[in-house]
Symmetry: C2
Subunit: 402 residues, 2 copies
């Protein structure tokens, strides 16, 4: 009989609630799904992918595309991304360097490995992407939630934590079109957050996977653009602009941490799959990539408008929805009398699946009163139909009819 004890951390991490509901949706194709955080399939550049896989294995072929690659990534892709980020956000490549990672999740894993000791605290927006909570827990860090509102992370709450809790090592933030709320942090608060990080000497991990999916409002520079002393680790992803199955993203850090990133990634997967990087580079440099991004933005703008307007028209007035200007998520905040898990199961009975706010809470057992809806994958008519079901359900539950 085997009695070997597992590592302590295994007591503190749990399976993803999002995946639970997403898998529910997958097993019943008649359900309208707002559960999966999947990009819209019309944004997948399938033809171009075919073209560049073909190129990589014929005219573009070299043995180096097959062998172990450099940890940093396929250098043409690294260099293109640097150029794009310099133009778009004024990232300074004299100070910083960029690493290809196997999706934004791995970037969070790398940052955690570099910074987190047992007992350190990570300040997180709450609600936020719970898989990252799990990553921090893997390194035996404690989590301290701070609220996030329409204009972003609550910087006063951050300061309050920093003042009183000396174990804080890192602030984790999704500044744009946050998962799950769809909120974005305004520039004044980004500045304030960076000042606080400097004042209290902590790291900012800026997770920005939706940044290219802006369809409204003004462009806001990442916190990384403000980073004078190299304390911001910035990550973004190709999952939402090319395809999630690629498992590619990037991590930008001050050069003095380059070797640390390098070693940590060696200890994870050595490097990210090279052919995928070649294809991403091909798509970005040999097709009209800006047009491709524009297409995705328009797709999300239309779907976002559809769900917002339908919800506004149909939900009970005691419910509020967020007003995303980009990304894939909208969140509905319901009165405390409505338990979100209950709401979600009732929604499933009526043919639509969302994710309850508890899926984004530090303590997933606590009742929540909000639901995340991802509007990216359902067809337009299904979005309207699904949102109408949600709207009707708010009335029925609040009026005690469901």
């Amino acid at each position: 009989m085997m009695n070997t004890p597992m590592a302590e951390r295994m007591n503190h991490i749990a399976g993803s609630v999002i995946r639970k509901f997403a898998e529910k949706a997958a097993t019943d194709p008649t359900l309208i799904t707002f559960a999966n955080g999947n990009p819209s399939a019309v944004t997948f550049p399938v033809e171009d992918m075919k073209r560049f896989y073909d190129e990589a294995l014929t005219t573009g072929y070299s043995e180096s595309l097959m062998q172990y690659g450099t940890v940093q990534g396929f250098m043409p892709l690294v260099n293109f991304l640097k150029e794009r980020l310099a133009k778009k956000y004024s990232f300074d490549w004299g100070e910083n360097d960029l690493f290809i990672v196997s999706g934004g999740t791995q970037a969070v894993d790398v940052a955690s490995k570099i910074w987190l000791d047992k007992g350190d605290t990570v300040i997180v927006e709450e609600p936020s992407y719970a898989s990252c909570y799990n990553i921090f827990r893997c390194y035996e860090a404690k989590l301290q939630g701070v609220p996030i509102g329409e204009d972003g992370i609550d910087v006063e709450a951050v300061e309050e934590v920093l003042k009183t809790n000396k174990t804080v090592k890192m602030i984790y933030t999704i500044p744009s079109f946050q998962n799950p709320t769809g909120f974005s942090t305004i520039i004044e608060k980004r500045k304030k957050l960076y000042e606080l990080a400097c004042k209290y000497d902590v790291v900012i991990l800026e997770d920005d996977p939706y940044t290219e999916l802006r369809f409204g409002g003004e462009e806001i520079n990442p916190i990384k653009s403000l980073d004078k002393d190299g304390r911001v680790f910035y990550t973004s992803s190709l999952s939402k602009v090319i395809a999630p199955s690629f498992r590619l993203g990037y991590l930008v850090v001050n050069k003095r941490f380059g070797q640390n990133v390098n070693i940590c990634k060696q200890c994870m997967d050595v490097h990210s799959n090279t052919l995928g990087q070649y294809v991403a580079w091909g798509i970005m440099t040999k097709t009209d990539y800006d047009a491709h991004i524009k297409l995705a933005q328009e797709e999300y703008r239309r779907k976002s408008t559809l769900i917002s307007e339908t919800l506004k028209r149909t939900i009970h007035p005691s419910c509020k929805i967020s007003n995303p200007t980009g990304g894939m998520f909208i969140m509905m905040f319901m009165p405390d009398s409505i338990d979100a898990e209950d709401f979600v199961w009732k929604g499933i009975d009526r043919g639509v699946v969302c994710v309850p706010g508890s899926g984004f809470a530090i303590d997933g057992e606590k009742p929540s009163h909000s639901v995340r809806m991802c509007y990216s994958t359902a067809a337009d008519d299904q979005i309207v139909k699904g949102a109408e079901i949600i709207g009707k359900l708010t009335w029925d539950m609040i009026e005690g009819k469901a």
Copy 2:
């Protein structure tokens, strides 16, 4: 000024010595390289890869190949590998399950995340693949080396450690064509090792990336085939049978740890790149995969014979070489008077690059007296030429002429 302290683990992990010498080789194409642990380029199924990428994006296309996939992997590939491993090694899928991982390195990362707490000890063969030492160190484990000889891991030394050190949690072994020695552990010792793991209630992490590359001797079942109580985590890789740049491997664990693997992988990269998995599945099921493996085995047999015979003919009699019956590595053991790093640098001056034994030691600063030669990538004439240079250098150094 940023003064945020990095995590304690960062003091204990260092860059790969192998990569240092491999990069040396990469920057000077006139060098004959025995440094990189790269597969032979003739074994890359480039045409077939092109075929199946094309298929995946045309007739085989489905949206699921683009979206986030299941953590376990692309199920047709999972199922094929299960079938193959059942046939080849009698793996029991009633008891076990298989997960696709992003290369064998990630499997070691997963196993470490599940099992290792700060202060736990991992028994490792010494010399062994030092990147795994680093992975264990990432989880703040201590390493305890045991010798490995021609017939494999020193099981008496393992028992001695287990008897006296109650912090041992895991035994890490590369049972076949070990990196760097090329040694294989005989079946009697595999059985004994498993018995010891049971007796002292520790986990075995069996790392078997070279298993398909056998070109001599009898097939030996993995320790996992003997595993009655589910304490063996078994991993192998597609890097040596398809291509390293794919970053695909697999991890076999008892079903009761399936959910733990699932959660840990969610915290690393969610899942491995799907198109690569589709292509691997295509190659394995729609081409003559056994013929492909046979081709690789023949390639390595020829190259191994060339380097062995040339070394036998040219090295100083006080030097010994291993006698691999598979895989990509041969090791030369020199007298204590020869410092291996010194030897390697002198070899580089003469046009050939190997990796010193110190690159595989727990304490990389300690002098070593062996060198690893990887014979898989150099052309046949270069193998002979390189091995002759090595042979001559042993004489020159032992006779004080170099």
